[in-house]
């Protein structure tokens, strides 16, 4: 299937994606074959249902949130470009990229963009703030049933209070960056795509 899939992808399209996402040619064709195998409707786009068919995602506590992250606002379909754009967030930062001057637009896999991706998972209403409720929702997803609302509430309070700098009882993106500044996000938000 992989070989057939690559033929369906036009060269210029690959070039564009390469430019935008930094994936290599072989990575793109490989991921395109994955994309096509997910695409049960064979219409060149993926719907939420296509994602939800992935069995492992069903048991991932944040699965739905992550699926949502693939869909641009108010859209139900994602094409291969969009698919790759999202995946590009998780491309490891390579050495030659580190020293690149920042005049060009920031690559998708920059530290900030990685963090932004994570931030958006929390920030449901897209107001660029993680409110207590939003945090609670994610926490609830990540913990089991054995933890009470009060316990979770105190965790959330503590979390927000630790991060909150301007006293608005919510975490802005800047505050989010700040609390994670000591974390090796580049490594912890990257996966290795096969070459």
């Amino acid at each position: 299937m992989g070989s057939r899939a690559s033929t369906l992808l036009r060269e210029e399209e690959i070039e564009e994606i390469k430019k935008e996402t930094g994936f290599s040619h072989s990575q793109i064709t490989r991921l395109y074959s994955r994309f096509s195998s997910l695409d049960k409707g064979e219409n060149g786009t993926l719907s939420r249902e296509d994602f939800q068919r992935i069995p492992e995602l069903a048991i991932n506590p944040l699965g739905d949130r992550i699926i949502n992250a693939f869909f641009p606002e108010s859209e139900d379909q994602v094409n291969f470009r969009g698919f790759m754009r999202t995946l590009a967030h998780f491309r490891p930062i390579e050495d030659n990229e580190k020293n690149k001057d920042h005049t060009a637009s920031e690559p998708l896999n920059s530290r900030t963009n990685k963090l932004l991706f994570a931030f958006r998972l929390y920030d449901l209403d897209r107001d660029d703030k993680i409110s207590r409720d939003e945090l609670l929702q994610v926490l609830r997803m990540m913990v089991g049933v054995n933890i009470s609302d009060e316990q979770l509430g105190s965790i959330a309070d503590r979390t927000i209070q630790e991060a909150d700098q301007n006293g608005d009882s919510s975490i802005s993106f800047n505050e989010f960056i700040k609390v994670l500044e000591k974390v090796d996000v580049e490594q912890k938000m990257s996966i290795r795509f096969l070459h």
């Binding site: 991921l31 994955r34 195998s37 997910l38 994602f51 992935i54 492992e56 995602l57 048991i59 991932n60 506590p61 944040l62 699965g63 992550i66 693939f70 995946l87 998780f90 490891p92 050495d95 991706f117 994570a118 998972l121 929390y122 994610v138 926490l139 990540m142 913990v143 089991g144 054995n146 933890i147 009470s148 009060e150 316990q151 979770l152 509430g153 105190s154 965790i155 959330a156 309070d157 503590r158 979390t159 209070q161 630790e162 991060a163 609390v179 994670l180 000591k182 974390v183 996000v185 490594q187 912890k188 938000m189 990257s190 996966i191 290795r192 795509f193 096969l194 070459h195």
Partner: protein, 917 residues
Amino acid sequence: MPPSLGHSLQSGLAGLGVSGGHGPPGLVSPGSTGEQVKQVQPEVAEEEGSHHGGGFKIVQWEWSYVQTPYIISVWLLLASLAKILFHLSQRFTTVVPESCMLILLGLVLGGVVLLAHEKQLYQLEPGLFFLFLLPTIVGDAGYFMPSRLFFDNLGAITLYAVVGTLWNAFCTAFCLYGVKLLGVIDEKVDAGLMDFLLFGALISAVDPVAVIAVFEEVHVNDTLFIIVFGESLLNDAVTVVLYKVYMSFVEVGPANVGTAECMKGLVSFLVVSLGGTLVGLVFAVILSFTTRFTKKVRIIEPLFVFLLVYLAYLTAELCSLSAILSMTFCGIGANKYVEANISQKSRTTVKYTMKTLASIAETIIFIFLGISAMDKTKWAWDTGLVACTLVFILLFRAMGVIGQTWVLNRFRLVPLDRIDQVVMSYGGLRGAVAFALVVLLDGEKVKAKDYFVATTIVVVFFTVMFQGLTIKPLVKWLKVPRSTNRKPTINEEIHERAFDHILTAVEDIAGLQGYHHWRDKWEQFDKKYLSKLLLRKSVYQKSELWEAYQKINMRDAISVIDQGGNVLTSRLSLPSMASRSSFPEVTNVTNYLRENGSGVCLDLQVIDNVPGARVEEDSETHHFLTGNLYKPRRRYQSHYSRHFMPAGEQERQEREVFQRNMRSRMENFKTSRHKRHKKDRSQKKHRGSDTREQEGNEKPRRNVSWQDKDPVVVPVDSEMEDEREEEERSEKEEDIGITFVARKEEPPKQRPQSVPAALEACDSPSMASPTCGERFLPWKVGAGSLPPCVSVEATKVIPVDLQQAWNQSISSLESISSPLNLNPNPRVTALSPSSRPVSSPPCSFSQSEKEQQKEEEEALSEQQQEEQPLMSVRPPAPPLSSTPGERRRNPCVYLRSLVTVPPAGNTETHSRGPTQL
């Protein structure tokens, strides 16, 4: 005691009992250890004679009886003292690694013995080393291995351990053989290819002992450390197999070695490594499973850990599998479950004991290495061999690292850069394992054994001393990222967990069966089956995140308190505020403390008024506390340091100190209370006022101290607590009629100062509550304060009516903060004409007394200080129990953290106290 240990230690000591011991070396008779013992010997004989003669000797010298343990103890003591000595100078030890110093000390000792005896009495016995010294170090390393880090880098570690070691072994061996053929190595070195292969096998393995000793002082970043360290542990299988295979080759003779033998070697490698790992994992399961059921026998929990981990080592050794692998994996595998199952105290015990043992074993190894080196008879020097070996091991280590890293970096998410490679090459230290193996060689079959011994010693010394000495400057010079021993914040805990989920999901979406995919699979499996099987039910149901949260919370609270800060005002306390008013929070605190096994005590016995102090006094107190409370000496150490507990541990330690203090204070209080009982009369005299007397009789007061500003955790041991409960019970029966405030003994000044606005407030809720007659444990959480911790042992039963108690305490709190509530104390009024609230101490003093007290204040401040941290509040007496005796029934201790701002009513009440008189 195994003979080897006894013997070696004894002869070792003989080496130390320097001055003129003439006894035959190593002889197991008393007297070989120097003059002192020599004097003794006749006595021993005499003693024997006396047995026959029937005479009775008052003092007998039983040297032969205590000899072995005595010598071992003295040895351990010496080693420990040596450590103290090295650490006397801070600046010195930062430059010179301890292992160097120990080896030097060993050399000196060995030299002295050599001068005295012409013959080295001692050398590192392989039996002693492999059966006792090595397992303690490996056990510690395995059990405290950061498992996530280890498995994250498992691929790299395994590659370096297997391929790297093989590469080193073969290249070194063949090249040595080559230079031998070229004639660089002297003709006297009678060694063939097989001998060199054997030698190459034992000299090529990176040594865990040396790596730990050197790297823990260097603090390179975690990834780098885990790779070198993991390699040193995992290459044991390779070393063992190569060593054994070549031994058999040497024995059968090189001519008879065919492909069949080589295949056997390969199979043997698989069996030894996988078998060793399997044995370790089996023992890990057994160990975890066992600790599920130790609830009733907490005290021997640590013993299970030690025994089973050690048994894993011995069992592997028994089946001639890789013992180090077995022990390492037993430790790694069991750690998670065991730590969750056993109590906090056991955890601390395990940690300390393991670190102590490992540290002392390491010390002994290095000292003995030094001593062994001074044995001329074992040596045969050949410059060519030594020089070539040194060059080759360094060269091939570097080549191996570079080559493997190049391969690895194609697969690694975070490539190892050039600097990492330099440190890894340079950090390939050889150590005691190589030495013990070379000593084990059979001199009959390996003709060149003496040369090999000398070479090994030089190599070990060179790597440990020269490389150990220079690696620190090198790391500094290369600007290798150091490890930061930083505890994750709650945000990091949460978000990193989220990251893991995200990455797993993305891998699944991208159709990659990557690392995260499998890790997630494993975690699912672990959760579904393993944890269910190996964890206690109570533990299993807990959320990791919640645990992490609690840990962090506790840590912060403790550190704030330790620094004399105010939990209340600090931002740390805020999170709990939101849910403070809900009952479950209390249970959480309880759970939490129960889990942590420490924290604050709710002491059932200490009950008294809280002397509400004036604001100035409060601030005074605050400053005093700030100045005098334990200040954490923060010297952050590496995670892997055996010599120092990581910072978290330190804090725990401090907490324990804190607990101890508190306990002693309570003890003090207790005694003073009893004294008071006796002093009843005299006190009455002192007071001279009828009303006061009456008041005293009215109700037994408890010593209480609390501060508005500085809530302090009052920790009590669980035993302590039991004791107290016990005591309380007995007191209920015996103590009826004690009517004096415990505090009385002390200069009265304290009481007047403390005008109990808060106290009164506390009382009032009790009035309101019909249930106050019942025994309850009100857990008081001050408004806006972090719930102080209450130390309750896991086994402690929480009173059923906690809810009630909670309600009460909440209402009392509310009343505290509302000035309006001041002194609506009908009960008191009914009891005493003066209508003083029972619990308000100031009432019992006249104004003049009060002034006097004030004068005394300064002198007494310290004493006061001591009392203040104890924040317990006299539980409100039930209205129905108006007789003094009955009232005693409800002693409760509140854990109090107090309102940030002293209630407005404070001053008011304060002034009101005297007027009431």
